[in-house]
């Protein structure tokens, strides 16, 4: 039996999304933010590229083409056997809205896929896509959803799933008011191509409801939420299944969560792509990613859980741990960078300390944990910046803690 044709879709959103990623997303499109040394969108893309029978990956968002073109070019070179393209929506259409008209036709263009993966950009996961496919092949539902277990206190922030022992979804509620289950929607779906029929039904339903409700008429009938408008009715019709994973899973919503995601992916690289990691030495503690064009003084100490971007310069006696240092930044001698993100082209002076707390498991009401220096921030020698968010182009010469520096 030949493997059925499969295509992948990655939903990357657009500039008006990702505001919680500020200040990093002020200067860098969220899908391109480096996580473990790779653009955020690379991680689902690389996972999809390994799925047997996968022929094509469509990245759908409403960033301008020029924003994504560099990445698409690199990705095509890295995965030459897979068609990779970016399809731009011209306005936000909701998570399922992208599947209308032009985009639907692109996905369904020959070779016509039997199965379609849909991946959200803002999650960090081990991407158990092959496992999802195995389960999907064994049932007759329309879709398989990735189910992940979260802490009971946070479950109601997600789409909650109740399933039976055969993995059939019995009940699905998006962000319920009271607790329903610890298993939640992991933001990765595998659908049969009949999804598009279901979307058509959902749109017709919505149009019918809109006709009765004058308030709804104000909205475009093309705005369609994948979760509320498609998965909820599919679950009610007993056509959704869930693949439950106990592997790591996180949302990447905030800048702070990028450090956590980077750590999780770097640890994953140890087994799936050790060639991406810097080799262990007296000064480099694995797992760490160091771009080949970065210059690291031999007396510095790097890692674990560090990702260092292109052209970065790390001076003598510098310590970097649990951090992301982005392209073109300089960390001068004896400085210390912990639990932090240093944006593009920053300058951290000698003996400065950029320090934060690890990202807390639960959202802690406006308290800043990880320090984020946005693009072109300069820190004077010996300055302490602790648990701060620093906006682009700031020059700091005073110590700061627990604040946003505009």
């Amino acid at each position: 039996m030949s493997t059925a044709v499969t295509k992948g879709v990655i939903l990357v959103g657009g500039p008006s999304k990702g505001t919680r990623m500020r200040p990093l997303s002020l200067d860098c499109a969220k899908p391109l933010l480096p996580i473990a040394g790779k653009p955020m969108v690379w991680h689902p893309l690389a996972a999809l590229a390994k799925v047997p029978g996968l022929t094509e990956i469509l990245i759908i968002g409403f960033y301008e083409d020029s924003v994504m073109s560099g990445f698409i070019k690199d990705a095509k070179r890295e995965f030459p056997n897979i068609g990779i393209s970016y399809l731009r929506e011209y306005r936000p259409l909701g998570t399922a809205g992208g599947f209308t008209t032009v985009i639907r036709d692109s996905i369904l263009r020959p070779p016509v896929p039997q199965n379609i993966f849909i991946c959200n950009i803002d999650i960090c996961s081990s991407w158990p896509l092959t496992e999802m496919m195995e389960l999907h092949g064994k049932h007759r539902g329309v879709g398989t959803i990735l189910g992940v277990n979260v802490k009971k206190e946070t479950a109601t922030n997600y789409g909650c799933i109740v399933s039976d022992p055969s993995s059939l979804v019995l009940h699905y509620v998006e962000k319920p008011e009271s607790w329903i289950s610890n298993m939640v929607n992991g933001g990765v779906y595998l659908f049969d191509k009949s999804l598009f029929d279901e979307i058509k039904i959902a749109m017709d339903d919505k149009a019918a409801r809109a006709a009765e409700d004058p308030l709804l008429q104000l909205q475009s009938d093309e705005i369609l939420q994948l979760e509320q408008d498609v998965i909820v009715p599919l679950a009610a019709a007993k056509k959704m299944y869930v693949y439950e994973t106990n592997d790591f899973w996180r949302q990447i919503k905030t800048a702070a969560s990028a450090v956590t995601a980077s750590r999780l992916y770097l640890n994953r690289f140890k087994t799936i792509a050790p060639e991406l990691l810097a080799s262990s030495s007296a000064v480099i503690i694995p797992p760490s990613y160091i771009d080949p064009s970065a210059i690291i003084d031999p007396t510095a100490k790097i890692g674990p859980n560090v990702a260092i971007g292109p052209g970065v310069r790390i001076g003598e006696g510098v310590r970097v741990k649990d951090a992301i240092v982005m392209e073109g930044s300089t960390i001068e001698r004896h400085a210390c960078v912990l639990n932090s993100i240093v944006g593009n082209n920053c300058q951290v002076g000698p003996w400065a300390r950029v320090d934060g707390e690890p990202e807390p498991e639960q959202d802690s009401k406006g308290k800043i944990s990880v320090t984020v220096l946005a693009t072109e921030v300069t820190l004077a020698p010996e300055t302490l910046v602790r648990s701060c968010i620093v906006l682009p182009n700031k020059s700091l010469s005073k110590n700061s803690a627990n604040q946003v520096l505009l």
């Binding site: 001698r333 004896h334 210390c336 010996e382 602790r386």
Partner: protein, 381 residues
Amino acid sequence: MKMTVPTLPSSQLLTSSHALILVGGFGTRLRPLTLSWPKPLVEFCNKAMILHQIEALVQAGVKDIVLAVNYRPEVMVSVLKKTEEEFGINITFSVETEPLGTAGPLALARDILGKDDSPFFVLNSDVTCTYPFEAFRDFHLAHKCEGSIMVTKVAEPSAYGVVVTKPGTTVIDRFVEKPVEFVGNRINAGIYMFNPSILDRIELRPTSIEKEIFPAIAADQQLHSFDLAGFWMDVGQPKDFLTGEHLPLPVASHFATLSPPHRPTKNKWVYGGNVLVDPTAEIDPTAVLGPNVVIGPGAKIGPGARLQRCVVLSNAVIRDHSWIANSIIGWNSNVGRWTRVENITVLGDDVTIKDELYVNGASVLPHKSISTSITEPRIVM
């Protein structure tokens, strides 16, 4: 420690050979340092505070020193035994069974202070200055009155007791506690000289010399004030070791003239001056020290460390790339690599700070090991 009456050459009889240092209690204000070491022995600019005073008294010809204490730790007895031998002086511990205030200890030590007619010095152990004892004694002998008080000028006299003299003289007219209006800016510096006749004014009971005895002497016009030139400070609290731009090292440079091995260093690692390093300390050439840094005997400062406005007591180790400011690192303590210690952090004896931590304003009791950052000032028991 004996209480013998020394035979003095008659030429010295009119000068002075006695002094009393008011040491007092356990030095709770200097904790956590004084949990391990008696307050008078805590090093200020690499020398026990009390030795600064004793050496200056010896230079002025003092032979008999009484320490007014309300406890007598063995370690202090043994340290001062050496001092007695070194300088050929007598040091007597006058132990109070109940706190006697600032005047009562004089009555308790009457046998020594009143054994001849020569005047004697009285010092509070917490104050440090240039100790111009000879000039002070000459001043006292010249005015022939019962007592002299050293006074120092302060910028904000409203927090102190101000000494007011009769116009155009050094005769003290009155004392004004915490004045609301400006009456003068000279305050009591805590160093006195008295004729033995003062002992007749003091009973053996808890008495305040400032509140009860001075006003009475001043009323008899028997009390003069002596202007202290140069620095003066009360080092009662850890922050007093560090606060103020001119502290503590101009102090040290004064003491350096007394004891050449303690001269501030002029080495390449110094940045901003005022660095006092004991010759037995080891400083990595890539470390950068100063301004206002004191490094004690046997201390080790690692590569790339950066220290300013801080005191590192004996045998402490500051490891590579750490950054320390406005802090006291206690004896035998170990500060890990890439740590940042600041904001009047005081580490007691044998404290360990693990690598990469941030320590902000912590007071750490002896023998503690710190393995998580202390981000807000607090006491670590």
